[in-house]
């Protein structure tokens, strides 16, 4: 399809797609930009959905990634309520869900991820919710009245954040976790233990080693969660937060490599020079760790948006960043940097009992691979620097409160 002005189509208008459109303009792309999003509203921030938005402390305006006038001024065309349904790589066109065919010079896949479904009896009852978009959050919010009871299947970050918000809203919360500890997949033992205690102290019931058999119902509505050991957890609403699945089907059908995520290089490029992929839907190089992985985080979405925009605009690649994450639960600010691959030693700095501490994860050679900080922003910042350099650090120095951490980043 010939066109007078080259066009970039961005498939997906989440944090990654929205950021990519902004970086493309910042980096000097003069052609058309078409941002295609399935949801009805312009790109917004998802992290507050389980926190401030759920508690009624955020507005549609504060949630928006950018105001609507931004897209007008930057000449970024928004096509909302629309999906890309097919890619024709030979013709360099995409088909939209409204039937239109649109040509592209470059295509950026920012397709996101979807909540993993739990194929158990009762999963389709009314009152069984997942949390990904504002509609999910609004449904959750309207159900979380004072005195309501929520059963949360999955003790990951979404589950724990919703539990904290539920308590703030006066609802009762039970977290049901299959593994022996909460955050088993994404946090070290010390942080898991600390958070389990923090939630219990605030009235959340946490059940670990608990396998779910079914969601029970009454008159078509969820009424509880039945465990394999026979226990039934009564609930008015059930949140399923058991991870996310990358939306890679569109890429796979177009013949692009997918291995639990669309495979990209360090500039977010697929094997097709005209197609990049960014955000939750990708499997990407993790340069600090010399392997590939999938990162579900806002910082990753923004980093890859920059990589793709730089690649398309012919700029040198942005420097590699340390993966990092944050979470807010009650009065606890969690900040994590790095990934604890090959970690064999955990060193606690500070006092968990006092509610402010950091855990450093070292590999067998004593190199810092990751840091997890709770109400310890300075330790997080220093830790991120140390992890970025993969400095060899001594556990004694890390434990010493008089030690200047910045001096360990060598």
């Amino acid at each position: 399809m010939s066109q007078a002005v080259p066009r970039i189509v961005i498939a997906g208008a989440g944090h990654a797609g929205g950021s990519a459109s902004a970086f493309l303009r910042q980096y000097g792309w003069k052609g058309e930009i078409l941002l295609v999003g399935e949801e009805a509203i312009p790109p917004y921030q998802r992290p507050p959905l389980s926190k401030a938005w759920l508690k009624g402390e955020a507005t549609a305006e504060s949630l928006a990634l950018r105001p609507v006038h931004f897209y007008e001024k930057q000449a970024i065309a928004l096509r909302l309520g629309t999906r890309v349904t097919a890619i024709d790589r030979a013709a360099k066109t995409v088909t939209l869900s409204d039937g239109e065919t649109v040509g592209y010079e470059h295509l950026i896949l920012a397709l996101g991820a979807r909540p993993r479904a739990l194929p158990i009896p009762g999963h389709d009852l009314a009152g069984v919710l997942a949390l990904r978009g504002t509609r999910d959050a609004d449904a959750l919010q309207s159900a979380l009245k004072p005195g309501a009871r929520i059963a949360i299947i999955g003790g990951g970050y979404i589950g724990l954040e919703v539990a904290a918000s539920a308590r703030a809203l006066g609802a009762g919360a039970t977290v049901i976790e299959r593994e022996s500890r909460v955050l088993a997949r994404v946090a070290g033992q010390d942080l898991s233990a600390f958070l389990a205690r923090a939630h219990a102290e605030r009235g959340v019931e946490i059940l670990c080693n608990a396998a779910v058999e079914a969601i029970t119902g009454e008159a078509g509505r969820a009424a509880g969660v039945q465990l394999k050991d026979g226990r039934v957890i009564p609930a008015d609403i059930v949140l399923v937060g058991v991870g996310a699945v990358p939306n890679e089907e569109l890429a796979r059908e177009a013949g692009l490599a997918c291995e639990n995520g669309i495979v990209v290089d360090i500039q977010a490029r697929t094997a097709d020079p005209a197609i990049c992929a960014i955000g939750d839907c990708t499997r990407r190089p993790l340069p600090l760790y010399d392997r590939m992985g999938r990162l579900e985080s806002v910082p990753n979405a923004i980093e890859q948006a920059k990589q793709a925009a730089a690649a398309i605009c012919g700029r040198s690649p942005p420097p590699a960043e340390v993966p990092w994450f944050w979470s807010d639960q009650y009065d606890l600010r969690l900040q994590m940097a790095g990934l604890a691959f090959d970690a064999v030693t955990a060193v606690v700095r500070g006092d968990p009992a006092a509610g402010s501490f950091a855990v450093f994860h070292l590999d067998a050679a004593g190199r810092a691979m990751a840091v997890e900080a709770v109400n310890a922003p300075a330790d997080f910042m220093a830790g991120r620097l140390i992890v970025s350099k993969q400095s060899v650090v001594s556990p004694e120095a890390l434990r010493d409160p008089a030690q200047d951490l910045k001096a360990l980043a060598t």
Partner: protein, 106 residues
């Protein structure tokens, strides 16, 4: 509307009208000013909206809180006039504010 001048590391100036009540960070992000990343969206969690406040405006922008102080002091290029722009709320008194961006936020 208060006018805020953002100066990129390369010297490019952006004079932007920012509504009262928004943060200095939002003023930049909402208008496509390069050099302020704001990964966390204004939660004071990431320190990627680091700016240097023009000396003449330091007092008017107020005092950073403990969380901000801890975060910004570890920014790679921190100076005494470093602030996280998500923590500076735009008020009529800040009409004319000048901030400069560091070379990089990461």
């Amino acid at each position: 509307m208060p006018k805020i001048t953002y100066i990129e590391h390369n010297g490019t100036k952006h004079a932007i009208d920012v509504p009262v009540g928004k943060s200095v960070m939002q003023g930049a992000v909402d208008n496509g000013v390069p050099g302020i990343d704001a990964d966390c969206g204004g939660e004071c969690a990431c320190a990627t909206c680091h700016v240097f406040v023009d000396e003449a405006w330091l007092a008017k922008t107020g005092t950073p809180g403990d969380q901000e102080k801890s975060m910004v002091s570890f920014a790679a290029t921190a100076q005494p006039n470093s602030r996280l722009s998500c923590q500076i709320e735009v008020t009529p008194a800040l009409d004319g504010l000048i901030v400069r961006m560091p070379e990089a936020q990461h």
